[in-house]
């Protein structure tokens, strides 16, 4: 199992002094420093409007910082050309006109991979999220949780070095959410990928991640970092343990201070 060494992996990517000002004058981020090491599961936790999603989009290259830089380790292949990044949005963001299979195959198709070669990887990705039998279904025929699984399968089909997730489970009910949390951890361990997971849930951030980065708003910046050094694999037992409760309390306190720091209750 990777976890014990994962926290001390080689640096993969770093945001250095990143700032983002929008044309309307809003400073979403200012002086944001964040380093992500290979194999880590990092949670970005903060109140809404603290720029966590903006930070994630900057890492993905979907948005340009107005200050600072994003640095990538030499070992990482160029971001866009080689599909080293997987992105899971808040909504499943599937193409409604395409079957589950075609949705998952999209990143490979855009890369120009031949259909025959892609089919194996798509099937493997669908297996991973337990949806192989649904490959001919259309998104609207699936439940919210299943759609999110398809979205995750699509993000993982290129076997990205870095998986970016923007509050992916926020719209799901708690039962589905817990199930997907467990599945996500399993896939993370099996694939030995690196994850940056944006959430506004203290409990979710502690349960999933090896490190919680607490952000403060106006402007968005890193307020505190907490290592969650509980061993993986984590399961229902961890969710109900005093250790988990203690981590949650400390994270919660950090979040309260972060919110006080921007002058709001």
């Amino acid at each position: 199992m990777p976890p014990a060494t994962a926290f001390h992996g080689a640096p993969l990517a770093a945001l250095r002094g990143v700032g983002k000002a929008f044309p309307n004058g809003v400073h979403a981020l200012a002086g944001l420093d964040l380093e992500v090491r290979a194999g880590e599961f990092v949670a970005l936790l903060g109140p809404s409007g603290c720029g966590k999603s903006t930070a994630l989009r900057i890492v993905a290259g979907l948005s340009e910082p107005t200050e600072g830089v994003v640095e990538w380790a030499q070992t990482v292949t160029p971001v866009q050309s080689e599909n080293r990044i997987g992105f899971v949005f808040q909504e499943p963001t599937l193409m409604p006109w395409a079957s589950v299979f075609d949705n998952v195959a999209l990143p490979l198709k855009l890369k120009g991979m031949r259909a025959g070669k892609a089919a194996h990887r798509v099937e493997a990705a669908l297996d991973r999220v337990g949806l192989r039998t649904f490959s001919r279904a259309y998104p609207r025929e699936l439940s919210g949780g299943m759609r999110m699984r398809v979205s995750i399968a699509r993000a993982l089909v290129t076997e990205p070095q870095l998986l970016l997730m923007d509050e992916p489970f926020a719209a799901l009910d708690e039962i589905t959410r817990f199930k997907l949390n467990d599945d996500l951890l399993r896939m993370w361990q099996a694939l030995r990928t690196t994850v940056i997971f944006v959430t506004h849930s203290v409990f979710e951030s502690v349960y999933l991640s090896s490190r919680v980065v607490v952000m403060a708003a106006r402007p968005g910046r890193v307020f505190a970092e907490l290592a969650i050094d509980a061993p993986y694999p984590r399961d229902q037992g961890f969710r109900t343990s005093p250790e988990y409760a203690a981590f949650c309390r400390r994270t919660s306190e950090a979040l309260s201070r972060a919110m006080a720091a921007r002058g709001e209750p």
Binding site: F89, A98, L110, R140
Partner: protein, 269 residues
């Protein structure tokens, strides 16, 4: 409870079909009676039975005319579909082209076709003029709807495509056109009826006789000759043609969208 609901639904569905038929039958009966009781001559108002007999006796002439009009409509529709979608894609790909041409597309649309048709007939052979009329009337809704559709792409999906380094062509083919499909089909449904109108207007403006003349010309000609029953018969055929065009396009719309688009799913509940 559930069975009761579906029984209710079935009754409503039966009523939706039966009621218009009852209204039609009543209307025709009253029409027929009024004509007979008042002894109205057919050159003033023909009775429904008379119109039906004319339809049968003149079927040779009328069916040939119908075919001419339908072919013109169909050609105009195809040109409108290709032109509308093509122009919309071109506008979407190039702002410069859009800024240069869009005002003229609007001008073509807002100038009444009845006023344009005589001019076209001066400069173009008759068949081409009729076709251009059908095209002018029908292409704009396709253009406007397709433009709207191409601009209604889900932002996250667009981000996803750019994340995976999709080319412009890939974005157009795999994202924008499928997103726009429901809008395009909506535009085509309007264009079908409009291309029939365009063809009819141009035929009436052309007003020339001969073997190649369509239904609208037959209506005008019958008017001059006070052959009012034939006028009604031709009108009936035109109206039926319009209905068939509308339903065929609705069916295409449904078949293309039934698996994924909200508009085609209402019946599933």
């Amino acid at each position: 409870m559930k069975a009761r609901v579906s029984a209710d639904e079935r009754r409503y569905r039966a009523l939706r079909i039966a009621l218009p038929i009852v209204v039609l039958a009543l209307g025709l009966a009253v029409w027929e009676l009024v004509v007979r009781i008042e002894d109205i001559p057919p050159y003033v108002l023909p009775a429904p039975g008379n119109i039906l007999r004319t339809l049968i006796s003149d079927w040779d002439l009328l069916s040939r005319a119908l075919l001419v009009t339908l072919i013109t409509t169909f050609e105009g529709f195809l040109l409108a579909a290709a032109g509308g979608v093509g122009l919309a894609v071109l506008f979407n790909q190039s702002r410069l082209v859009e800024y240069s041409l869009y005002p003229y597309a609007v001008i073509l649309q807002v100038t009444p076709i009845v006023a344009i048709a005589p001019l076209l007939l001066i400069y173009l052979p008759q068949h081409a003029a009729v076709l251009v009329c059908a095209w002018i009337v029908a292409f704009f809704p396709v253009l406007a709807n397709t433009t709207l559709g191409l601009n209604s792409v889900d932002r996250n999906l667009a981000d996803l495509f750019s994340l995976y380094g999709a080319s412009r062509g890939q974005v157009l083919w795999h994202l924008k056109l499928p997103s726009a499909l429901p809008y395009i089909l909506g535009g085509l449904r309007i264009a079908g009826g409009l291309s029939l109108i365009g063809a009819v207007v141009a035929e009436i403006a052309a007003g020339s006789a001969g073997a190649g003349s369509g239904l609208a010309y037959r209506i005008a000609e019958s008017g001059y000759r006070l052959n009012i029953p034939r006028m009604f018969a031709a009108l009936l055929l035109l109206s039926l043609a319009g209905i068939v065009i509308f339903y065929v396009l609705s069916l295409v719309n449904y078949l293309a969208l039934r698996r994924w688009h909200e508009s085609a799913l209402a019946a599933e509940r």
